[in-house]
Symmetry: C2
Subunit: 420 residues, 2 copies
């Protein structure tokens, strides 16, 4: 499977050849010295580094999992100057190629370069998450068009970590299982009123109504997604039980039995965590509200990779578990009932997505261009690597009001009771 | 069951009568004014407040669950001046009596007095947890004598929250289930080397060796407990696989596959969390160590009840989840895999303990005196109330090194696989 990834697909090889590998001529003494410096910085990563003229360096004695090839001096210089951002830029433009196992190479880089830095407290860059900026950030990513996401997501269009009861389950089975896992952690029963903040293309909201008998109000600021979700509600005859609102979570009004948010906390911005907590607090029944937050996180605070933040997900920030608990839940005396870390499930989810993206590579390249395809390949591969290397986590926090005793006695029902 | 508690046991009623209820004579205008002030401060708590001469006040319109009776002016004054500490003192001495459902009365007080304050950040009082002070603190509580604890703990002498697969399980079943729950969360397998910090009377260490084939090194600074544990290891023929060391967690040396601590974090002191993290970090295998912390906690930081801290558990502090994650785990890039909140299980555990203490009340009173018995009744009832009202939590955190992928795929095995 992995052999099919990396540079092994026709659209890219073509793009590479167009520019011409030999354009820079022979590498000079300076180039070779810079290559040696880079190999030293990456000491321990099982990769081979190569220049445009064939000069090579091993970064580690063990057999390399991939060859990272610089197509010209500019790419080599930029990666040395600003590795975090320039690697992505050079890869997307084709001025840097990775031949071999892209994910394994990125896991190696994560482990050697990122892991030792995890000890330090790197604060995230400040961001703008006002209502206008939030809309722009979300539009950048989610309004690429439903057709693009349909090419490589599952049929229900879930663009968040799946839950694989067994690692070999299909993506479709795993996304359905994720929805059931969330619904059961929420203890949903017929008649429950649920508010969902950040509902994507609406699959979870519809599932809560269809399989659990809940009444759902779902919020999202991506117009394309909301339109798709509304169409689906009508087709499925669920419009009377699921209301899709094109609006920000800050616009939530009314009282609900449960609050759920899957994959939105990453886009809220640290400075709005208290506001998010206030929204949850005022939205839940005063004596017995409960909820679930599902988000990409960290073992400790660190900024998102600069290239992903700039090119793929403006304004995104994966928080630490404690940033969410202290920022969103504790100020309102919500009680953490259950935290589950599903990072290996996200790695597996991303593997499925990337495989499907590769299968649709020619279509993507034809519509969006080769650099776009390469950027998305790198983004999916890099994210998979981050979840495999342990530099990113996937947390599900189930919580309830501190005063309610209407909480599950144990978690056995999640694993032993039949799924509706 | 609850009707049997409160003041309904002979030793106490006798003690009350000895002192004479009528000693203070009729309550004056000042006494009645203070009673009214107290009723106002407790507005909403379903209790009846009574003075020594029979004067009564309801603190809430609903039917009261108990009558709190002041036996003299001194008790009334002291509780008004310093309610948190003086209530315990007056109750233990018999100058204050609670007739009716003691736990329900304390839940009511928690909900009305404590819950609204949970919003504020009250920092804990500074404590001394140096090696000498740690020993003194622990001796105060645990060296009361094994015979005392044997009167009301389960037969394995587990003095931490049990896990009731079903609420009606016996305490014995639930304590055994707790040990299995911990062992399975740790993924123990034959040959694993485990270090346990704070091992009580040794039940878990012995169980890990007997049922899971682990080799265990267990630390505790309570001599009485360690001696009991060593005797049991010899009786059970497990001395070659379980080593009990009368020493502090800071003295742990060597490398282990797993680290476990049940009910010790509360006694470590905030200022030592980083040290505890360092101990865990240096004790675990560098590539794949894992562990579990089980402790009484809070939704957010708050000091322990002043009376319990002074009279029952010197130096104890139940931390928030994030104080432990940020203080102990994150600095060393440990990854939180699983958090479970078992507060209702602790309420149930305490109910069992209190029922057994009541059954042994005459023996306890004969050996330790009536005030000691009353103090322990209040401590057990107050703790049960705190877990029922949601002012205290019981967290189990399973964690692993950030870089290891040797982590459970799901948690299904905890609920579906046979127990060894």
């Amino acid at each position: 499977m992995r052999a099919a990834l990396g540079e092994g697909f026709p659209g890219l090889r073509g793009a590479g050849q167009e520019k011409g590998w030999e354009a820079e001529g022979r590498a000079g003494a300076l180039d070779r010295w810079l290559l040696a410096r880079l190999a030293k910085a990456l000491a321990g990563v099982p990769i081979r580094l190569a220049l445009w003229d064939g000069t090579e360096r091993l970064a580690a004695p063990e057999p390399p999992v991939a060859r990272v090839r610089f197509r010209n001096r500019r790419a080599l210089f930029s990666v040395l100057r600003d590795p975090e951002f320039a690697f992505g830029e050079a890869y997307a433009s084709g001025n840097l190629a990775v031949e071999g196992d892209l994910v394994a190479a990125l896991v190696g880089i994560d482990r050697v370069v990122d892991a030792p830095r995890r000890g330090g407290r790197r604060r995230p860059r400040p961001r703008n998450h006002g209502l206008g900026a939030a809309r722009e950030n979300v539009h950048h990513h989610y309004n690429l068009g439903n057709d693009f996401y349909r090419l490589w997501l599952d049929e229900e269009m879930l663009y968040t970590c799946a839950y694989f009861p067994s690692p070999d389950d299909s993506l479709e089975v795993a996304q359905r299982a994720k929805m059931d896992h969330v619904c059961r952690k929420l203890g949903l029963k017929p008649g429950d009123r649920v508010v969902e903040a950040g509902c994507g293309w609406g699959a979870l909201a519809l599932h809560m109504a269809r399989a659990y008998g809940a009444t759902v109000t779902a919020f999202n600021i991506s117009r394309e997604q909301i339109q798709h979700a509304r169409r689906r509600a009508e087709e499925d005859g669920l419009s009377h039980r699921v209301e899709f609102r094109e609006d920000d979570y800050r616009a939530i009004r009314g009282r609900f039995d449960a609050f759920v948010s899957v994959g939105m906390v990453e886009h809220v911005g640290l400075e709005n965590y208290r506001t998010l907590g206030e929204v949850i607090d005022r939205s839940l029944e005063p004596e017995r509200g409960r909820g679930l937050l599902h988000f990409i996180g960290r073992n400790r605070p660190a900024p998102l990779n600069a290239w992903i933040e700039r090119r793929i997900f403006p304004g995104a920030y994966p928080p630490s578990l404690t940033e969410v608990v202290d920022g969103v839940l504790s100020p309102f005396d919500f009680s953490v009932l259950d935290v589950e870390n599903l990072r290996l499930h996200y790695a597996r989810t991303l593997e499925h997505w990337r495989r499907r993206l590769e299968a649709a590579a020619e279509t993507v390249a034809a519509h969006f261009g080769v650099p776009f395809l390469r950027a998305w390949r790198l983004y999916l591969a890099g994210s998979e690597a981050a979840f495999r290397s342990g530099s990113m986590q996937l947390f599900q926090i189930a919580f309830a009001r501190g005063v309610t005793n209407e909480i599950p006695w144990t978690r056995a029902h999640l694993y032993t009771e039949p799924i509706p």
